[in-house]
């Protein structure tokens, strides 16, 4: 079962959990599954049009999902999804 890693700023919306199990065949389906159980997360993960926010990056394992098909990218049982807010340059 794939898992979703949340930053601390979002954990209050998921009963304090940093890591949540998710079901689904794609990134979008996995996020939808989590949002069904934690509806308050919904507007934090996607904007009102269902698109990702420009200042948030979602990774599938080590890859930015924008390079591999976005929400349509397929997920495998042992995959890790991570929500990471933007970081300044260095």
């Amino acid at each position: 079962m794939p898992t979703l890693n949340l930053p601390s700023v979002l954990t209050p919306l998921a009963n304090g959990q940093h890591t949540i199990d998710a079901t689904g065949q794609t990134v979008g389906e996995a996020l939808d599954d989590v949002v069904r159980r934690f509806p308050s997360l919904s507007p934090r993960l996607r904007d009102q049009h269902g698109a990702p926010y420009p200042f948030v990056t979602i990774y599938l394992n080590d890859e930015d999902i924008r390079f591999i098909g976005g929400f349509e990218a397929p997920v495998q049982p042992n995959d890790e999804l991570s929500v990471v807010p933007a970081v300044a340059g260095g």
């Binding site: 890693n5 930053p7 934090r44 080590d62 930015d64 390079f67 807010p85 970081v87 300044a88 340059g89």
Partner: protein
């Protein structure tokens, strides 16, 4: 060069934050993300705070702290008191080569202590770490920030964890490791390092300067803009060309010029802002060119490793500010970067790193395309030192064969030189 500043005894406090996206207020904290919309947090200055005039600023020690009312603290700074106040150097031969009226170089390649503009942001970030009583600091870096943080942390006696891509230039690795930080080389790009550091800041609660101290860190970049204005005699140039990695420097320069205009320390309009990137990593340039609002990340492939950020956090803001200022952006190839380094060196006596080559080559491309006018007074932000990236230019430099210590051999060289030099 900066002057020595007496170290004050009283601590300082960091000012509150607000979300740059939704505007919601947030308490002063080592936090960078709005808990409501996940937008970036930025300092919320008191609009009624007393501000100094030109005379008062001019009488202060020559460091970036002479502009302390525009930095995100109340009280006097306690760390990195000597950072800033780099020279603004007239470059008439470079102006002639570019085809502009006047060219000046903001010489952060000579910044104290680590020879890049990152000394500015680290100065701000380490004072924030002090305000929040964070004993451990860190950063994700393409090299210059690693140098700057390692140097400053060593001086202040702080433990520093520094995360870099594994393939960084050897000089930048050495110029970090020499200060004795905990150096972590990550198998991946800078964007991979960034992601890891975001999770480290979240998990360990350290002061990661460009993650959870980002709101305070970034404000240090404004001081380059303040210095440009003051060093020009309290006025603004027509145009500023700056390299872009995460895009923050462009946004902070625009903010600095706007704040000095608001304070009536200068008059006129914000300079046109021009951004420079390498062709192998130009997501912000492409965004400026397209004119839309959707940054498309890229996989970097360029010798300009200090600019190799494929997913720039401030890219959208930078592109918007560039367009609204009337400026533009340009991307240059790796050979053009090397030629830019050479042109800067041969016309100004300044050896800049690959980012400097990007800036100079982009300025030339912008002038040739008419985006910079022949009447323009242009400031080029040279943000890092060429001694850190010598491997980038080694293949383009002619190193002569050695000679025996005999006058006859040298005379032969002179004769050859005379024969090959046009009269």
């Amino acid at each position: 060069m900066s002057a020595t500043l007496a170290r004050p005894q009283q601590a300082l406090t960091a000012i509150p934050l607000q979300c740059a996206s939704c505007g919601r207020p947030h308490e002063a904290a080592p936090a960078h993300v709005c808990p409501v919309c996940l937008g970036p947090l930025e300092p919320a200055y008191d609009p009624d705070r007393p501000l100094p005039d030109r005379t008062e600023i001019s009488a202060r020690p020559r460091s970036l702290w002479r502009y302390r009312e525009w930095l995100p603290f109340v009280g006097r700074p306690v760390r990195c008191l000597n950072a800033g106040w780099t020279p603004l150097i007239d470059a008439p031969r470079l102006a002639s080569a570019l085809g502009v009226s006047r060219c000046l170089v903001k010489h952060d390649a000579g910044s104290f202590p680590s020879l890049s503009f990152k000394d500015r942001v680290v100065a701000s970030a380490l004072n924030a770490a002090h305000a929040f009583d964070l004993p451990v600091v860190g950063c994700a870096s393409t090299g210059n920030l690693a140098n700057a943080l390692a140097a400053a942390a060593a001086r202040e006696g702080l433990q520093a964890w520094i995360f870099i891509p594994y393939d960084l230039e050897p000089a930048k690795v050495a110029a970090t490791a020499i200060f004795g930080p905990r150096l972590v080389r990550v198998r991946g790009t800078y964007d991979d390092v960034n992601r890891l550091c975001a999770q480290v800041a979240d998990r360990f609660g350290w002061g990661i300067v460009n993650v959870n101290l980002r709101a305070y860190y970034g404000e240090g970049s404004k001081t380059a803009g303040f210095e440009i204005a003051e060093q020009l005699g309290w006025r603004l140039p027509d145009a500023v060309v700056t390299p872009m990695a995460g895009g923050s420097l462009v946004t902070k320069l625009a903010k600095a010029f706007g704040e000095f205009l608001d304070a009536r320390l200068v008059h006129g309009v914000t300079p046109r802002l021009y951004g420079a990137q390498a062709e192998g990593c130009a997501p912000i340039v492409r965004l400026v060119e397209r004119g839309d609002d959707a940054l498309i990340p890229v996989k970097p492939n360029t010798i300009a490793k200090s600019l190799a950020i494929g997913n720039p956090a401030d890219g959208r803001s930078a592109a918007q500010l560039i367009r609204s200022s009337g400026g533009w952006a340009a991307a240059v190839t790796d050979p053009e970067i090397v030629e830019g380094i050479r042109l800067l060196a041969e016309t100004t006596g300044i050896f800049g790193e690959t980012a400097a080559g990007v800036t100079v080559a982009a300025a030339r491309a912008l002038a040739q395309s008419g985006k910079l006018s022949g009447d323009d007074e242009v400031v080029l932000c040279i943000t890092g030192n060429g001694l850190k990236t010598t491997d980038a230019v080694s293949g383009a430099i002619d190193v002569p064969e050695p000679i025996a210590p005999r006058l006859s051999e040298f005379a032969a060289i002179v004769q050859t030189h005379h024969q090959s030099t046009p009269t």
